[in-house]
Symmetry: C2
Subunit: 262 residues, 2 copies
């Protein structure tokens, strides 16, 4: 049996993906009544159970809640699981979660995870069995069982410890968000002449703060570091004006490489 704790886009997509890969056991959800209903309607979960009962019967516990809720679940869940039960999560920062698990998970076996996948629409209604296919999926430690699951759903396993993960996502994900937010704040009075570049670079500023509250709170140090490095690079660009020929050439190649590998 698999227990999906937090039946949103990621949790329900994981359930659909393992089903599609041939898993024939039961999949239960631990979530709000609305999320459970959406998950059942989408065909992602079979039924709902309270956390204690779901954890007691599960072979795999998949924590797909918001980060702060994952942290709280980790403090509670170990007492319920059978010894050796695999517990993993899909939170988008890893150090705080892995530290919490090291402290609280004794009977279970915890491996931190982060699927680098998503879409604009949220909730189990938008769940997609192919959401993880071909996408990077970070795992914070080696474990044959979780690696087999992740391989089954078609994701590309990337092994990385929690600290390294948080440093990297601070640069590739959290920094771009804050650059976009800051640009939108600055362009507030420039609407009359805004062209496609401004729209492109402020798209992320449309993101809801819901998700970002926990990310900022649990990855503050690395985000601060990424902002500092970015500001330093921007000062270099400023100093080099107006001849940025070399920078544009290197940036073009870097942007192409990002596209080839993703």
């Amino acid at each position: 049996m698999i227990a999906i704790v937090g039946v949103g886009l990621i949790g329900a997509s994981f359930a659909l993906a393992v089903r599609k890969a041939g898993y024939s056991g039961r999949i239960v959800g631990v979530s709000s009544p609305a999320a459970i209903q959406a998950g059942i309607e989408r065909g992602a979960i079979d039924e709902d159970l309270p956390l204690a009962q779901a954890a007691a019967r599960a072979d795999l516990v998949y924590l797909a809640q918001p980060i702060e809720r994952i942290l709280a679940t980790i403090e509670e869940i170990d007492q319920y699981v059978r010894p050796g039960t695999l517990i993993t999560d899909a939170g988008s920062t890893k150090r705080a979660i892995v530290e919490r698990a090291t402290q609280y998970i004794r009977r279970g076996r915890f491996v931190g995870g982060h699927p680098m996948a998503g879409k604009e629409s949220r909730g189990a209604e938008s769940a997609d069995a192919d959401l993880f296919r071909g996408r990077p999926y970070v795992l914070t430690s080696a474990d044959a069982e979780i690696e087999a699951w992740i391989a089954k759903i078609g994701a590309r396993i990337v092994r990385m410890d929690a600290e390294e993960h948080d440093r990297r996502v601070a640069a590739v994900s959290h920094l771009p968000q804050l650059l976009s937010t800051t640009l939108a704040l600055m362009l507030d009075d420039s609407a009359a002449v805004a062209g496609p570049a401004a729209l492109d670079m402020t798209r992320l500023a449309l993101s809801s703060y819901d998700i970002w509250r926990d990310i900022l709170a649990t990855n503050r140090t690395q985000i601060d570091g990424a902002l500092a490095r970015y500001i330093e690079k921007l000062q270099t660009i400023r100093a080099e004006l107006p001849d940025l020929h070399e920078d544009f050439a290197r940036a073009l190649k870097a942007a192409q490489r990002l596209r080839e590998s993703s």
Copy 2:
């Protein structure tokens, strides 16, 4: 007769747009043989002429070359035109061009222009009669004749002096480009975990330097100022970490307003 000097995407689109709006006079091109051929094949221009002859017969001269070429044409063209001939340009910075025109255009009548429109593909092959429709079109001085042309092609006239224009586009167009270029330079080693945010924010970094060389050279001061203001805002965001609730809310509204007006 209309003379299009520089038969690329913008020049050829302007020609197609005035044709569609009912202009039945001749449209001649002054450009490289390859551009002339593409412009004729696309139905944008009727024939080519050397600059001196095209300028001597034109009622409207439309300069749609790269900025440095526009600056050079402005130095040469005034001797050819009949007194009072309307000369305008489509360069994406305005102070250097308007200053050059003030110095050199005596017989003709110069009005600086900047259509805030474009597409990824370049050249007369990609020309589109509706390229300017609904888009802002900056004019640097009041002139009933050019305003009538711009209204005809369906663009939204925005009156703004050259200094104000360059300050604004430094923020809405040149700054976003440099933010994207700088991010691509920084993410060069992060390909393994790059997600949609990184791809979104490095799309502009794929731009060719061809266009940017002249923009950076002719708007250096305003771009430096925009970078300085942005860095200051980013330092504020850094200092406020991790609680960016207010900033995200204001940025969301600003990003929505940018979309409503463009």
